[in-house]
């Protein structure tokens, strides 16, 4: 009861603080859009047209930003979707097929569909293939616009859609586009600050880890391809209106380059950065008229410079709060006493059982007929020399490797081999031998990614910041803060994760795994790189985790830690069980002592 009131008062205090941080986040955007809004009042129509163009570009870029900046998918041909939207609206409106706004809706649907079609290779293949498929799409769309004369007017072109009053003047249309841009910013910012946005960044920087957290990359990507495609095609309709008359020449590949580079110059994983990037790149040719012919060349030089010199882009330059030095002699003090708060759940009490697992890589038998049981509430140590199959075993259980024969089951139900993304829903969490975290995200965000599948709201609810989205966010943030207090990293919550020490990353991964409220926790060499004190605290933490009813599988080289905390030990050699038993039995085992423990 006491704890509840304390939590409530903390929550109230924090909601006040979070209101202030929201205002701080919004301030730069309000400034940019505020400046844009007074452009038609203080300048002439020419600048209003330029500002309109910037707003339209930004509407497209804001959606594309989720694809490129957040999910890290290198879509280089998005001008194709702009073209698609422009021609769809123009053809439908000028052919009197349907009224203006319905035509924009149809264009957005087309954009969404083609956004997904072009994105399909990204779901299964390397980055370069997706870049190529968007490039190929951009090439053929222009060719089609040129060749399909009966519909698109070919090289002669077609009239763009006309807006009704009050949007049919330069100023009126500008405010309409600015409104769309503001709306687009708000919606993509909502997604970016939701569990979806964090999962996208995690897919970009730590894809393997997202699978163990139950995040489905294909579903995530398809959702944002739909969004970005719809935004781009809608922007295309506005673009056609702005041009009043469109020909295929208006959609040169240079535009694609502008969109793409605006995001990279702005900085990945940011919204303000790409917004500034778009504004700068749109205005640049206006201020350097003699250089207009060279603008794409300059963009390309900028791109190369950003990639080689400042991969963080504008956003990294504006990130003042992460320049403050961190306290140097900080210690990690976990609080195992808080574990019941985070781990309380119904426990089924079933075992994970491995039966007759074999797995070869080429001629090497990594696992050779292994049986293993992991019981809830017990710590099971897995030791053995290098190459004896410890991590491979862990990867088989968590689904990264499909064994050639044998089964992995949980309480009688078989776990699907080779499907790592299915493990999280069974309550099986893990950490990695080399910590897989998102360096550019904060520690808190890294932990919040761990609870992605606990969220209830859909992407649409996040897009519009509906109540369920806000409840999810509060729930995830509270849980992540609690998990950080458990492992003793709460003071580092707002810090960029790549500034942490190696030992802190190990505890960070444990906090992230705890977000799944696991039934089973598999730790792959959690003590590697830790100091003696830290190992002792880690041991205490692991023991307390198992006391909450969690089954722990511990792969480790530190014999002291293993013999100290394990209830059961399996010794592997060449993929087979050399010995199994309690720590005291293993200590007596002759072969183990001579082969592995020494002495």
């Amino acid at each position: 009861m006491k704890a509840d009131t304390r939590n409530a008062s903390i929550a109230a205090h924090e909601s006040e603080g979070s209101w202030r941080t929201t205002a701080m986040h919004a301030l730069p955007f309000v400034t940019v859009f505020g400046f844009a809004a007074i452009v038609p009042m203080v300048t002439n129509d020419y600048w209003a047209l330029i500002a309109t163009r910037a707003a339209i570009y930004w509407l497209l870029v804001s959606g594309l930003n989720l694809v490129v900046g957040f999910a890290g998918q290198l879509a280089i041909g998005y001008v194709a979707l702009l073209t698609l939207g422009a021609y769809t609206t123009s053809v439908l409106v000028s052919g009197n097929v349907m009224p203006l706004f319905a035509a924009f809706g149809v264009a957005a649907v087309f954009g969404a569909v083609f956004g997904v079609v072009v994105g399909l290779p990204a779901l299964r293949l390397r980055t370069f293939y997706f870049a190529m498929s968007t490039l190929g799409f951009a090439t053929i769309v222009t060719q089609i616009a040129l060749a399909w004369q009966s519909v698109t007017g070919g090289g002669i072109g077609i009239a763009g859609p006309e807006f009704p009053a009050p949007f049919n003047t330069t100023t009126g249309f500008f405010y309409f586009c600015l409104g769309c841009a503001v709306l687009g910013t708000w919606m993509t910012a909502n997604v970016a600050h939701s569990r979806f946005g964090r999962a996208l960044i995690a897919i970009r920087d730590a894809e393997v880890a997202t699978e163990s957290l139950g995040i489905s990359k294909p579903r995530m990507l398809v959702a944002i391809f739909v969004l970005a495609g719809a935004f781009a095609a809608f922007a295309g309709g506005l673009f056609a209106t702005l041009q009043t008359y469109i020909t295929p020449d208006a959609f040169s590949f240079d535009l694609s380059v502008l969109f793409f580079i605006a995001i990279l110059i702005g900085g990945r994983g940011s919204i303000l950065g790409p917004l500034l990037g778009t504004v700068i790149l749109t205005l640049l040719p206006e201020f350097a008229a003699p250089l207009a012919a060279w603008s794409t060349f300059l963009y390309a030089v900028l791109l190369l410079a950003v990639v080689l010199v400042a991969p963080g882009g504008i956003a990294a330059l504006l990130d003042f709060k992460n320049r403050r030095p961190l306290q140097t002699n900080r210690a990690i003090i976990p609080r195992p006493a808080l574990l019941p708060d985070i781990l309380s759940r119904e426990r089924a009490g079933a075992n994970i059982a491995l039966r007759g697992i074999t797995l070869s890589f080429g001629a090497v038998r990594a696992i050779d007929g292994l049986d293993l049981d992991i019981a809830p509430g017990r710590i099971h140590g897995l030791i053995g020399p290098n190459g004896s199959g410890k991590t491979t075993t862990l990867n088989v259980i968590s689904g990264y490797y499909a064994p050639q024969s044998g089964t992995v089951s949980l309480g009688g139900t078989a776990l699907e081999p080779g499907r790592p993304e299915t493990r999280a829903e069974h309550g099986i969490a893990r950490t990695f031998q080399t910590p897989r975290i998102v360096g550019e995200a904060s520690v808190l965000q890294n932990v919040m990614v761990g609870g992605t599948i606990a969220g209830q709201g859909t992407l649409v609810e996040s897009l519009l910041a509906l109540p369920r989205h806000r409840r999810d966010e509060r729930m995830l943030e509270d849980a992540a803060k609690l998990a950080l207090r458990v492992v003793g990293l709460e003071s580092l919550a707002p810090v960029r994760a790549d500034r942490l020490q190696h030992s802190e990353l190990r505890f960070l991964e444990i906090a992230r795994a705890l977000m799944l409220r696991p039934q089973f926790l598999m730790l792959d060499e959690p003590a590697a790189g830790l100091s003696v004190d830290e190992i002792a605290r880690l041991g205490e933490l692991i023991r307390e985790i198992s006391r909450q009813g969690v089954g722990v599988l511990l792969v480790e080289h530190h014999a002291d830690l293993i013999f100290d905390i394990c209830d059961q030990i399996t010794v592997l050699n060449l993929g087979r069980t050399l010995a199994a038993g309690t720590p005291s039995e293993i200590r007596q085992h002759k072969e183990v002592v001579s082969a592995y423990l020494g002495g």
């Binding site: 293949l125 980055t127 870049a131 799409f137 060749a147 060349f297 390309a300 791109l303 991969p311």
Partner: protein, 285 residues
Amino acid sequence: MLASILASGLAVGAVYALIGVTYNTMFSTSRVMSFTAGQLGMLGGVFGSLFLVRLGFPVIPALIATLACCAVVGVVTEILAVRPVLKSLDQHLYVLSTLALALMLQQLTAIEWSTEPQPFPKIFGIGSGVFDEKFWLPIVACAATLIGLEFLYRRTLIGHAFVAIAEDNFAARALGLPERNLRMASYALAAAIGGLAGFAGGQLLLAFVANGPLLNFYGFVPVALGGLGNNRGAVVGGFALGLFQQAANFLVGGIFSSVAVFVMFIIVLLAAPQGLFGSSSARRV
């Protein structure tokens, strides 16, 4: 009609195949797919036209000068856009750096050369109709390149060194192979192959700056079909693509032939992500 489909299909197919080989040759020593591959094909045509028409070189010196210029571009690619990002291959920065360089090459050509297609002269003047040299020249160039590469990889020391690096970079370096110089050499070689593709296909595609992105895509399709790093796959894929494209062109018209190629590309990628002839894949965990 069948004869002209075959002739033009095999001819453009040979150009696509050679660009595919360019991708593969760059990939083999660096694990990098470079967007400059298609631009090199474009440059081969542009340099060829420059030396043959504007500067009036005879054929052989013009060819040598074209290949040399392209090789220089290849080495510049390696130094500027590939070497600096090799440390962090998993972040795919090479996609951006090579794209930036490709765009620079394209813009430079557009401004300094021309944005309109420029003529590419007849070289030998042998054959007419479907046996016109513009059809057989790319095929001969493709065959010669393949035989040359096969000889290089199997019979020469430097070829063995290329294969060693492609097979296992770390082991090759441990053996004391000059990995960096070999990588530069392979980029020069790849660039020369790309340049040859543009030169041999010059009469077909003209010296046209817009060929760059086009060849980037159509040269990549055979690589995707044949599997990364697999030259024979790329050649088979290239000819198949050329024939498919030209057949679609004659049968259903220009608009739908590019749609057909794109659809085929997506379907093949989804059905056989490693290409139809297989390629290597990396361990993830």
